[in-house]
């Protein structure tokens, strides 16, 4: 393993690493908010919203990530307002991940026993109050492990930005490897950068899960 590749191109690596972190963070927030909204659509008593939620999830999660990103990259430019690769990629990544997050959240909500809703509603709480005070706090505990998996997938999937010139870690690594012809060494360092992000995240999710487990 040749560390000179890392030291010689440290600036490029860091720029890509920074963009990967930024894209992942934005997509993490975006996909969580969007996923939570879609999950609520999926379980609401309102039929139209339920259909929309189901359609969204089934459409998005059954096509490849790359295609979703292409939709947001080539779609806008076809309509005359091109988005740059970083923005299109991050939106695509958010949308793609949100479908999986919506399913995880929905499953968590459904796993809270029905008696909880009945107790809350029969005491006069309305639907929204029941969700906020009774169902969601219990669902979150069940949702953390699958959510952690989705967030880790999201960070790894951010490498798709390369294919729309999104200036992420992979994109810069491609440049370094064509310049040095040291393909394998170049990408070994890329893997390490990803691990620097994903290992602590997976550890943090485990700690959070255990802490909630202990509370009651």
């Amino acid at each position: 393993m040749d560390f000179s590749i890392l030291t010689d191109h440290f600036g490029s690596y860091m720029e890509g690493f920074y963009n990967t972190i930024l894209s992942s963070l934005l997509a993490l927030c975006g996909s969580f908010l969007l996923g939570a909204l879609i999950a609520i659509f999926r379980i609401t008593p309102v039929k139209g919203l339920r259909w929309f939620g189901t359609g969204y999830v089934e459409f998005i999660r059954n096509i490849p990530l790359l295609l979703v990103v292409y939709i947001f990259f080539y779609g806008p430019s076809a309509l005359g307002f091109p988005l740059d690769g970083f923005i299109a990629g991050t939106i695509g990544l958010s949308v793609y991940t949100s479908a999986f997050i919506a399913e995880a959240i929905r499953a968590g909500i459904m796993a809270v026993p029905k008696g909880q809703t009945e107790a809350a509603r029969s005491s006069g709480l309305n639907y929204a109050q029941t969700m906020v005070h009774i169902i969601l706090p219990q669902a979150i505990k069940l949702v953390i492990p699958p959510l952690g998996n989705q967030f880790i997938n999201l960070i790894k999937n951010s490498s798709v930005l390369t294919l729309v010139a999104g200036l992420d870690l992979m994109y810069f690594a491609d440049g370094i490897s064509t310049e040095t012809y040291r393909t394998f060494d170049t990408y070994i360092f890329v893997a390490m950068f990803y691990l620097v992000l994903t290992l602590p995240l997976s550890y943090a999710m485990r700690v959070w899960e255990r802490r909630l487990q202990r509370k009651y």
Binding site: E118, A119, R121, S122, S123, G124, H133, I134, Q138, Y216
Partner: protein, 242 residues
């Protein structure tokens, strides 16, 4: 206080409630007994619209339960409910289980709600568990918390859906004691139970249901000593003979 008039309920093909007529007076304690699957719980759950009725009329405190214009949350404030499986909120401490609805629905301050909660916890005899989580309580204690939670809304009616069926035998007594006290204080109560001794002692009226129908209703003395209907006699001989 509660009026069922010719109430029918279907679950698809299944006819769960058949022409139910039932009138519960203010302050009355009505105990509903009958075999499993006879529609007792379903009938009870219609009263606060956890179940909807297919046809007929149902009013509580002169408010039509199944009217679209009825604010169901407002009606439910007046009706406390205690479930077979307690249904306490596991992520909230005992005191917070009790204060949630008074704060969110009645608009009480946290201090007022906690004061009321503590007074009812004392009434059911477990004030010292106020800061515990439900999982740290025995079944009997959990059910008493559930009763305190219902009472804290100061309801006009309390519904009990097999409140002792999920309890270990030695804990049944402590829950029935609380219910007995409530009955003596004049609370309007509808109780679905298999506790025949309790029914006999506390009920103003006993209702026997079978296959979705009210087969017989009578004062407890008469109901247990000389039931009119053959089906009632069969049922009683099965549950009382052991």
């Amino acid at each position: 206080m509660i009026d069922f008039h010719q109430v029918e309920k279907h679950y698809g093909q299944f006819h769960v409630l058949k022409t139910i007529d039932l009138h519960v007076q203010e302050g009355e304690v009505v105990v509903v007994v009958g075999p499993s699957g006879s529609g007792k719980s379903t009938m009870l759950r219609c009263i606060n619209r956890l179940e909807t009725i297919t046809s007929g009329g149902l009013t509580v405190d002169n408010i039509t339960v199944n009217d679209r214009k009825t604010d169901i949350n407002k009606l439910r404030k007046e009706i406390g409910m205690v479930f077979q499986h307690f249904n306490l909120y596991p992520h909230k401490k005992v005191i917070d289980n009790i204060t949630l609805a008074p704060i969110k629905v009645l608009g009480l301050s946290k201090v007022e709600a906690e004061e009321i909660a503590m007074s009812y916890l004392e009434k059911v005899g477990i004030a010292e568990k106020a800061l515990a989580y439900p999982s740290q309580l025995s079944g009997g204690q959990q059910q008493r918390v559930a009763i305190a939670r219902g009472l804290a809304m100061k309801p006009k009616i309390m519904l009990f859906d097999e409140p002792t069926s999920a309890l270990d035998p030695e804990m049944v007594g402590e829950v029935l004691d609380v219910m007995r006290t409530l009955a003596n204080e004049g609370m309007t109560m509808v109780i679905v139970t298999h506790e025949m001794g309790f029914a006999r002692e506390v009920a103003d009226r006993v209702i026997f249901m079978d296959q979705g129908q009210i087969v017989e209703e009578a004062e407890p003395e008469q109901f247990f000593a000389s039931p009119r209907e053959e089906r009632t006699r069969t049922f009683l001989s099965r549950v009382l003979s052991h």
